[in-house]
């Protein structure tokens, strides 16, 4: 038994060392690679001026082609939408922009049914993992993930749990400095065609107020950031569209695009996501509105 105990102890030490080495290696590679996602892109930038930044979920990621907006407005534009992101994630992005000293004339924030929700995007959280020792990111994960202790203190655990985003393939891609499929200087992630699933429903009730939105506005005021909230288009067959009218009342300056494509099904990939055709039309529309509202 003693011999077996020594055998186990030896393996335990080997494993521990291995886990520490792998953790250090993965972290180093992710931090020193070309940015391959929006979090690493923001964290790789420092002291920059960008005119317009769009924050939100896939309803920004797949909706705003920054190049189209730039062409019309003549201003530098960046799409920082992240798949599945919620308001907490937008707020974190806002804080990261401040931390990295990335300044914007206007930050457009997409809200819709997410106003009623709490929680975070798994995708965004996975992108944060290499930076878990950063105080701001650490605090953010700690407040939202019961696994925080394990993620932060068990070596390599974070890369195992988020293996589908930060696994071996992403590690190799980062190691060889492979550029991402989506240009991060633009941030637009196009969808093509249509799934034909053009039916959706918004909540029938809206919550009185969202604490994260309040916190975002306080943070923006304190740091001289201008926030403008908007809603991206939804397909014509969306139930409870009056939800957006209720939402509109929660903000002073709100840009409501929820119904601009209500009779244009050809613009939709599915009911809550436009395809590339729809994204181009929407980017043009919002850019023209930006010119008339914020450039004249």
């Amino acid at each position: 038994m003693k011999q077996f105990g020594i055998y186990i102890a030896r393996w335990f030490i080997v494993l521990l060392v291995l886990f520490y080495l792998l953790d250090a290696l993965y972290t180093w590679v992710y931090k020193n690679s070309v940015p391959r996602n929006k979090v690493s892109y923001v964290l790789s930038e420092k002291n920059r001026d960008i005119d317009y930044i769009f924050l939100g979920s896939s309803r920004v990621d797949n909706f705003i082609d920054s190049r189209t907006v730039e062409k019309i407005t003549g201003k530098k534009t960046l799409n920082l939408g992240v798949q599945g992101a919620k308001l907490d994630d937008y707020y974190l992005m806002l804080q990261l922009l401040k931390k990295q000293d990335i300044r914007a004339a206007v930050i457009f924030v997409q809200v819709d049914y997410v106003y009623n929700m709490t929680g975070t995007s798994v995708i965004l959280k996975s992108e944060l993992m290499p930076y878990i020792s950063d105080p701001l990111i650490s605090k953010y994960i700690k407040e939202r993930d019961p696994d925080f202790w394990k993620l932060k203190h068990i070596p390599f655990y974070r890369y195992m749990v988020y293996g589908y985003k930060l696994g071996f393939r992403e590690f190799i891609s980062s190691l060889i400095q492979k550029k991402p499929r989506v240009s991060l200087n633009n941030g637009y992630n196009a969808k093509y065609g249509s799934t034909g699933l053009l039916k959706s429903a918004l909540p029938d009730r809206i919550i009185t107020n969202n604490k994260v939105v309040d916190a975002m506005q306080v943070f923006a005021d304190k740091n001289n950031m201008k926030l403008v909230f908007f809603t991206s288009p939804l397909c014509g067959n969306t139930k409870n569209i009056s939800f957006i009218k209720k939402l509109e009342k929660k903000f002073d300056h709100f840009m409501n695009y929820s119904e601009i494509f209500k009779s244009k099904d050809q613009y939709f990939f599915n009911c809550s996501h436009v395809n590339d055709k729809g994204a181009q039309a929407f980017s043009t529309q919002i850019a023209e509105d930006i010119v008339s509202k914020y450039q004249n």
Binding site: Y164, G167, F168
Partner: protein, 477 residues
């Protein structure tokens, strides 16, 4: 509590320490402890079904004593029949009730009669097919006077519920496992070390191979209508390795865990994808089940003796029953029937025992003939797995039809985890490792074993799928 979960690792550590350091002086206490640990392990899924295991245990324990006590053949037969009916009754109710009811209604519907018999929302208790077969083999062996019934209900209960193999086998015979509960167990370093190696290899098979393949196989099978033939072929290939990695992995972990506690469980897989014909495949795949069916069904039916008609009947019975054992669905029955058809030519020409020895045992590579035999056998097995995996017979037929009619050499992009080419690379690496070590039960042998274990652990950590636990496929059976 899955074998590939942190909770099981903690559970096993606690059990191991208490078993060898606290309860090691008293065999009876050690067995009670195993029983308790096994019930905790099982209760982790659903404690309600513990009563079912306990019931099955008590019934077969008492019936075996009855069988032994009676010298009258008819009474012995009666008690055996009670045991068989009780076990198959439990299995039938929990596993097959809804299948029979639904098909009964459908059959009348076809004849123009509308029936409205309610089906029930029956939860299938995990591992019921495994432990009922284990207890059945006990009473049958007592009836056949191959073993004597135990008088110690705790030993018997520990044998039935032994946690390493409770929920997915290997299906152990009482003649092999029960005596191990009845004699002192001393810790053996070499034995425990080999157990650990089997656990690591089993985890590799499950977490790296099976779970990686699962992501793709599920993606392709669930949306097979939109893919071309090449992708569908890849889907069948991935599923073949998913189910193999999953089940062989589970079995290896089970055997490894048992060895840590000083028990020997039978080998359940012996590199089945290197078989040269279907008969050899069935001697190497899920060995504990195929030998169970051989000993308790095929041979009593007459086996390969008798007229051609009898031979054909017996082959079909054993394979269809084996298919049905896997699940209450026509797809499993069809899968069994296909294997019967593939097996039949071998039994009718007396070639079913051609390949008993290890393939190319003295060579590095197989001969060209052997290579094509392996390839042909694997292809047949892989295509038959489509029936096993598909939701319905129609889906399986359409899948196979599209595989042929929509064939093109274009590789389709799937927006999931790994690119096909990477996964293929991983699978071929796995095949190479298995081929090189086919004479051994796992690859961690020889003077480079330390290096092999280290590489396996690195691959386990970096290539394994941990984002969401994939359940072991055989838990549903």
């Amino acid at each position: 509590m899955f074998f590939n979960s942190v909770s099981f690792a903690v559970f096993l550590l606690i059990v191991f320490l208490l078993y060898w350091f606290v309860f090691n002086k008293w065999l009876r206490v050690q067995n009670i402890f195993i029983l308790l640990a096994s019930y905790i392990f099982y209760g982790w899924w659903d404690w309600r079904f513990l009563a079912l295991i306990a019931f099955s245990t008590v019934v077969d324990f008492l019936l075996a004593i009855r069988i032994k006590k009676n010298s009258s053949v008819s009474k012995r037969k009666l008690w055996l029949a009670v045991s068989i009916l009780t076990n198959l009754g439990l299995l039938g109710f929990f596993k097959y009730y809804n299948f029979f009811i639904e098909n009964w209604i459908e059959a009348w519907d076809v004849l123009g009669f509308k029936m409205s018999v309610e089906t029930m929302n029956i939860i299938l208790p995990v591992g019921i097919s495994f432990y009922t077969f284990q207890t059945l083999s006990y009473t049958i062996d007592v009836y056949r006077k191959k073993i004597k019934p135990t008088k110690n209900v705790l030993d018997f209960a520990a044998y039935v519920a032994f946690f390493p193999q409770l929920v997915a086998g290997p299906i152990e015979r009482a003649s092999h496992l029960l005596p191990q509960f009845q004699k002192e167990r001393a810790f053996n370093y070499k034995y425990a070390e080999s157990g650990l190696h089997l656990i690591i290899w089993g985890l590799f098979q499950k977490v790296v191979i099976a779970d990686s393949c699962a992501v793709y196989a599920n993606g392709i099978f669930n949306n097979y209508e939109q893919f071309n033939g090449l992708t569908l072929l890849a889907g069948a290939f991935y599923f073949a390795f998913q189910i193999y990695g999953d089940f062989a992995g589970y079995s290896n972990i089970a055997i490894g865990v048992a060895r840590l506690l000083g028990f020997d469980l039978m080998r359940n897989f012996n590199y089945p994808y290197f078989s040269r014909d279907i008969a050899e495949f069935w001697r190497r795949w899920h060995i504990s089940l195929s030998t169970w069916f051989r000993d308790y069904l095929y041979i009593p039916l007459g086996g390969s003796r008798g007229t051609v008609t009898l031979k054909i009947r017996n082959v079909f019975i054993i394979f269809i029953v084996s298919g049905f054992w896997h699940g209450a669905d026509w797809t499993f029955l069809a899968w069994g029937a296909v294997h019967a058809l593939l097996f039949l030519p071998l039994i009718l020409t007396n070639k079913n025992k051609r390949y008993v020895e290890n393939i190319a045992s003295e060579e590095l590579l197989p001969s060209l003939k052997e290579f094509f035999q392996i390839l042909a056998t694997f292809t047949l097995v892989m295509l038959a797995w489509v029936l096993f995996r598909a939701d319905t017979i129609d889906d399986a037929m359409n899948y196979l039809k599209n595989l042929v009619t929509k064939f093109s050499f274009e590789i389709e992009y799937m927006p999931i985890e790994r690119y096909s080419i990477e996964l293929m690379g991983l699978i071929f690496t796995f095949i190479s490792i298995e081929w090189v070590h086919r004479r051994f039960e796992h690859p961690f042998v020889g003077k480079w074993k330390w290096l092999k274990i280290t590489v396996a652990v690195i691959m386990l950590v970096t290539l394994g799928v941990y984002s969401n636990y994939q359940e072991f496929i055989y838990f549903q059976f």
